[in-house]
Amino acid sequence: MKVIYLITLIFFSIFFTIFETSLVYADDLKSPTFEIQMSTINITGGAKSSTTYKLTDTVGQTFQGQFNSAGYVILTGFQYINTLIPFSFKISDLDINFGSLVPGIPSLLSNTLTITTGSAFGYAVKAIEDHPLRRSDGITTIPDTSCDLATPCLQTDANVWSDNTRFGFGYNMSGVDVNTADFINSTYYRPFPVENIDQPAIVMSKGGVATSSAATVTYKINISGSQAAGTYQNAIQFIAIPAF
């Protein structure tokens, strides 16, 4: 009897939990992050907030009025970022000088890229080389890496390069705003895309504000014993552009 009573009680509890009309109170209306934005030319404005709303506004001539009278309207930056800090890009070292290379023994060098988006919202840093590392004769090159035979890599798809019998030139990325799903660890490398042939490859990116986001680029060369003697050079360009 007690068991039947208990089951009935639990059954009714579940029934009322599912079918009871839910009560929605006015204070359930959540808008702490809602922003109202107006297309006006600034005379005054700013951020206003209370416990239940946040409003950024501008007061002045309307967009339409300004356009009609002056014939143009200029909007700079992003309204939702209240800062005058500029978009900045730093590279710790511009000279990646490997010096003498030993066949079969990889040479590694690294530097750091640092981005502050400041008044921008999001960015991408892309990389491209003018040509593979090339001797002054303009013909002989150290090829761009294709990584290990079992784990081939592409310009936008890093893979393992740990076999010292695989020769070439490539790079690894680590740190903030790096695609760690691609550069899984320090053994993952990519070849640089080549100017006039390929599109630059994204090496760092973020869809939001970045403050001193720093990433390390590790450059790796491994040459074969048959690589012709000489000095091999190229230029790598890093392009940092804010998103819009």
Binding site: I7, I10, I14, I18, S22, V24, D28, L29, K30, T33, F34, E35, F63, F67, N68, G71, Y72, V73, L75, T76, G77, Y80, P86, F87, S88, F89, K90, I91, S92, L94, D95, I96, G99, L101, T116, G118, S119, F121, G122, Y123, A124, L133, S205, G207, V209, Y219, T231, Y232, Q233, N234, A235, I236, Q237, F238, I239, A240, I241, P242, A243, F244
Partner: protein
């Protein structure tokens, strides 16, 4: 005494010459402001905009400024630059500086800044359309030392300009919201209906496509209403620019995907909507979700089974024979 002074001076000079000097590697640091310029302009009008370029590195830099057009971007608003592209409208742009011109080297000393005065003059006969460019400032390439073996790095920094040439303030925009789906969470889909647990947070992804010929901004809201049309949750959409014939991911004002955390009271049918309102058009995408206490019911069911099992075991315990 004179001999001692002479020897000491000689030693000091020798050490000063032979001691290793602190040599800092050539680094790069540059900033640009503003990072974005949005211009609506009538044909026949001109504007100027000052860009501040600051050399943050520890040595003087020789730079080159250029205008590079683009027509595409990725889903996050990163332009795909076409340095080789030429267009007749590139002649609309010029630098009003007396000494700095496009594609000509200029120098900024370490720790100093320079202003680039960009001028845009749209001729009366200019076609009414959008033009998108990036003002880039690159390090000027010097020839490498012949003993240098490796890579010499160049750096480029840029700022985007989205320009609408139109005779009206608000040219027509055509936006379409696509792929508005729950990203992850306890969701079961039957036809166009989703069933979700009433205490599990749900994330939603969506993209917006600009099918028009002019850039637009994604101003709007993510809204959740109950079956009785009562508002339950409201969140702003991050207002970002979407250029013509392109697609962008929609995000909330924090730059994240949309998230709704239902409470115990959110049971039954709910409608979730993304609403974008531009100056001359609206677009909305909705999904219907029925929230039910799946986890709570399962918990109660398991508890019930355990209680029944305990009662059964207890009632079957044989009494001790006296």
């Amino acid at each position: 005494m004179t001999k001692k002074i002479f020897i000491t001076t000689l030693c000091l000079i020798t050490f000063a010459i032979l001691l290793p000097k602190h040599v800092s590697a050539a680094n790069y640091g540059m900033s640009i402001s503003p990072p974005l310029l949005r211009v609506h302009i009538k044909p026949g009008k001109s504007i100027t905009q000052v860009y501040k370029i600051e050399n943050l590195s520890n040595n003087d830099k020789t730079l080159v400024a250029a205008i590079v057009p683009f027509t595409e971007s990725d889903n996050f608003g990163n332009p795909v630059l076409n340095p080789k592209t030429t267009a007749p409208w590139l002649s609309y742009f010029s630098l009003a500086n007396s000494e700095i011109k496009f594609n000509k080297p200029f120098s900024i000393p370490a720790g100093s800044s320079e202003q680039l005065i960009l001028s845009l003059s749209v001729p009366e006969t200019a076609p009414l359309k959008d033009i998108y460019v990036t003002l880039i400032v690159s390090t000027y390439e010097n020839s490498l030392d012949q003993t240098f073996q490796g890579s010499a790095l160049r750096a480029t920094i840029g700022s985007n300009l989205l320009i609408t040439i139109s005779s009206q303030a608000y040219p027509d925009t055509i936006l379409r919201i696509e792929g508005f789906y729950p990203a992850k969470g306890a969701v079961i889909r039957i036809g166009n209906l989703y069933f979700a647990d009433s205490i599990t947070p749900l994330k939603f992804t969506a993209t917006v496509t600009n099918e028009g010929n002019f850039a637009a901004e994604t101003k709007g809201v993510f809204r959740v209403v109950s079956g009785k049309n009562k508002p339950v949750y409201l969140e702003g959409i991050l207002p970002v620019n979407i250029i013509a014939k392109s697609q962008r991911q929609l995000l909330n004002t924090n730059g994240d995907t949309f998230e709704f955390s239902p409470s115990l009271g959110n049971i039954g049918p709910h409608q979730l909507s993304l609403e974008i309102k531009t100056d001359n058009s609206n677009t909305t995408s909705t999904i219907d979700i029925i929230f039910f206490p799946l986890k709570l019911s399962l918990g109660l069911l398991i508890s019930l089974l355990i209680i029944i099992s305990i009662i059964k075991i207890t009632s079957k315990t044989p009494e001790k024979s006296t």
